[in-house]
Amino acid sequence: MTDRLRATSSSGIGCKGKERVAAIAGHICPIAGGPGDREGDRGGGGGGGEVSRFDEVSLLAAMASEEVHCAPISAWAKLAQAPEDPILGVTVAYNRDPNPVKLNLGVGAYRTDEGKPYVLHVVRRAEAALVGDRSRNKEYLPIVGLAAFNKLSRALAFGADHPAVLSNRIATVQCLSGTGSLRVGAEFMAQHYHTPVIYVPVPTWGNHNKVFPKAGLKLLTYRYYDPATRGLNFAGMIDDLQAAPDGAVILLHACAHNPTGVDPLPEQWDAIRQVIRAKRQLPFFDSAYQGFASGDLDVDAYSLRSFAADGGEMALAQSFAKNMGLYGERVGALSMVCATPEAARLVEGQLKLVIRPMYSSPPLHGAAIVATVLGDEKLFQEWKVELKGMADRIIDMREKLYQALVARGTPGNWTHILKQIGMFTFTGLNKTQVDFMREKYHVYMTGDGRISMAGLSTSTVPRLANAIDDAVRNVA
């Protein structure tokens, strides 16, 4: 670019519409000049880098079609609006809906029978204790997070006296809830694991399909849900694990599978484990509902404890969003169960290198709350009671919805509502029916027909039952 050009090229900044056209007409502006051009570099990008032609007529014409950029142009001019997240977008749409009887059964956040969010009493007490303690500060946590939290989370998942815990071969790092734990674990595996391929069940939580590829793992699938039975396709799952390469990473939902609510039986878990161990595959557990599935923390941990007990290695992404109601505080932990304490130590060191360029260290508040609750025997026992209360209310909603559909004689077999486990019911409704229910009844759920039972209440069950009944009878 000549000096004259350089001096006047600044005219384009921030100009819009007519001003922009006038500015270009009145000054000299390079055609197709803009970011990425190298000075003196011919033929690069859009219209060539070295600019010496200025044709006002063609400039203005091109302006109309937005082809030309007057320098400097926005670095983001070519960005399109990103699509809404399929799950979080449901709440966005719900919030926009002015209808007074709208019902949000989208995102899996627990609601009381009055339809309100619920902050656990033990959380409030822990919070009050923290606020009142002036000796507490807000310093950076270590990269691996709050040590007390890590220790207690590990104990919660595996059991305090689990041999793997006692032998110091588990590296646990605090992460940003389940998502953050999955992402950090996956990035570590993509960098250090010999077979950077992960198999996820069909279907799985939508965000799995984003997290793993972004982290650098190749994403493949194994059969899981059987639409015909609305239960587990156990034979298909075993077949696909057998057919998967030796050493692949296998994503497993520890309990309360999301979105289907279909879990393997204990003896099926044993069989799954045998295959995975025979194939030397790496199990990566996603545990977001411990305590929410059956109401019992230990029962819900059967799968991951049995894997951790057989001497093999595994990974665990643990979330406290649901079972402690700490959704927005982003509290979770990644545990890498290794064969030896030495391996665990090395792994922890490398995990820090993944975390540091992502967010340096995890947030303090939520972890401090969890550590307070888990570390106090009284609070811990009270928590278990509240947790069971939430799980029981969900089971009650299942019962009520089932009865309501039976009472209406709604076509089809609805026993899966009772059999499925955890926060969600995979209704079996199709996208057209889902859209119909949103349009006519202002009932919001994810497009795969997943409803959050936690969003139902005694008073809203009839409305939902009516909507399902209508959809099933009248919409293909």
């Binding site: 803009g34 807000k138 310093e139 270590p142 077949d239 057998q242 069989a271 064969a339 508040h365």
Partner: protein, 448 residues
């Protein structure tokens, strides 16, 4: 077909209790589960997938505090990590923060924030960065996403750059905060550098910087420290910023301002954002990675904001939607508590006023420590020119100490700092400043 049959057979056999031959049996933890656990990998129970994983190098900054904490000696001094300390060397929670915390405890739900974070927080954060009456805010041209403090904001920016400007490179001053390089590298953006610090003058190499800016390809991305450059404490003057802005316009470079010390540099939050103001007045569309770790003492809360000034309201919406897409597979949505605290403080005139006073107090204490350290060094007869201690701005002093001298300070005096000679003035107190001066003088006596 055969494989599938075999698989089913195995599954059935296992389900009915018959184990495979050649299995090694791990100890049965009958207290934990029904049935016995069998490890049938066919190889040693103790084999690991991670044996090849090497020991990770210690983080050059955070590793310093780890070493300091491990040191049992009395009188040890930590001038490593940039976290503010009071004159007793104690961490500080600001009064405005305590009050905000009391106010919000027990009253808010803990629901998920949107992916872009707390809207109210974002709105207040960008007003602080760009000015309450900023035209770009009035015109709704600023995409703002709550981020995990400064690191998180930088990472979102780096990932956005990689995704939508993959051909671009990013330029950092030499030296810069070490984690900048990790962040952009992990985002797979090519990292370059431009001259910045002049070791001879211990000030700004303005000519070198301008030359390197000029020689960079048009439309490159630059990360500039808005104020209180880390680690050197060397900032351009107002006039120099204006010249930089002009040159950047000619080159159509994109600027990311890393602003981690607004209020900490001069004690005045408005003054400390002058670089951003100059660039905005010149019509640049800048980005800003903003942190509240230091100026609100919210280090552990991880609260910051990435904002990007766009061409139009629509473009800002598009950009924001794309940044959200980067957050979703990283952590879904940002943490609530820190955003609540900042929003409470900034939206309440009384609390905000208190905060501004407290920030100025912190900045003033640091300025005082700078004076004291320099006075002591000069007073005990050091022949070295220590002018830079009081000229440099913000939390850090780039002392000019060599790695060998730093190691000596650590080994013999239990004084901890990063090996580039960066002293965190926030760790200096009236109680340790003399000791520090003597130690520095001793290890530097040999040089001129």
């Amino acid at each position: 077909m055969m494989m599938q049959e075999a698989g089913r057979h195995v599954a059935r056999a296992i389900l009915h209790g018959s184990g495979r031959t050649g299995a090694r049996v791990a100890p049965s933890w009958s207290g934990l589960m029904s049935g016995s656990a069998r490890c049938i990998s066919g190889s040693s129970v103790l084999s690991t997938w991670w044996g090849h994983v090497g020991p990770a190098p210690k983080d050059p900054i955070l590793g310093v505090t780890e070493s300091y904490l491990a040191d049992p000696s009395d009188g040890k001094v930590n001038v490593g990590v940039g976290a503010y300390r009071d004159d007793n060397g104690q961490p500080v929670v600001l009064e405005c923060v305590r009050m905000a915390e009391q106010r919000i405890a027990g009253i808010e739900y803990m629901e998920y924030l949107p992916m872009a974070g707390m809207k109210r927080f974002n709105g207040l954060a960008i007003k602080l960065a760009y000015g309450d009456d900023s035209p770009v805010i009035k015109e709704r041209r600023v995409a703002a996403v709550q981020a995990l403090s400064g690191t998180g904001a930088c990472r979102l920016m780096a990932d956005l750059q990689h995704r939508f400007r993959p051909e671009s490179q990013v330029f950092f001053p030499v030296p810069t905060w070490s984690n900048h390089l990790n962040i952009w590298r992990d985002a797979n953006v090519m990292v370059k550098s431009f001259r910045y610090y002049n070791p001879k003058t211990k000030g700004l190499d303005f000519e070198g910087m301008m030359e390197d800016v000029k020689n960079a390809p048009n439309g490159s991305f630059f990360v500039l420290h808005a104020c209180a450059h880390n680690p050197t404490g060397v900032d351009p003057s107002t006039e120099e910023w204006k010249e930089v802005s002009s040159l950047f316009k000619e080159k159509n470079h994109f600027v990311v301002f890393d602003m981690a010390y607004q209020g900490f540099a001069s004690g005045d939050t408005s003054k400390d954002r002058q670089a951003i103001r100059i660039f905005l007045e010149d019509g640049h569309q800048v980005a800003c990675a903003q942190s509240f770790a230091k100026n609100m003492g919210l280090y552990g809360q991880r609260i910051g904001c990435l904002s990007i000034v766009c061409h139009s309201e629509m473009e800002a919406a598009n950009v924001q939607s794309q940044v959200q897409q980067i957050a979703r597979p990283m952590y879904s949505n940002p943490p609530l508590h820190g955003a609540h605290l900042v929003a409470t403080i900034l939206s309440d005139p009384g609390l905000k006023e208190l905060w501004l006073k407290e920030v100025k107090m912190m900045a003033d204490r640091i300025k005082l420590m700078r004076s004291l350290l320099r006075e002591h060094l000069e007073g005990i007869g050091s022949q070295i020119n220590w002018e830079h201690i009081t000229k440099q701005i913000g939390m850090f002093c780039f002392s000019g100490l060599t790695p060998a001298q730093v190691d000596e300070l650590t080994k013999n005096y239990h004084i901890y700092m990063t090996r580039n000679g960066r002293i965190s003035m926030a760790g200096v107190t009236t109680k340790n400043v003399e000791y520090l001066a003597h130690a520095i003088h001793t290890v530097t006596k040999a040089q001129k």
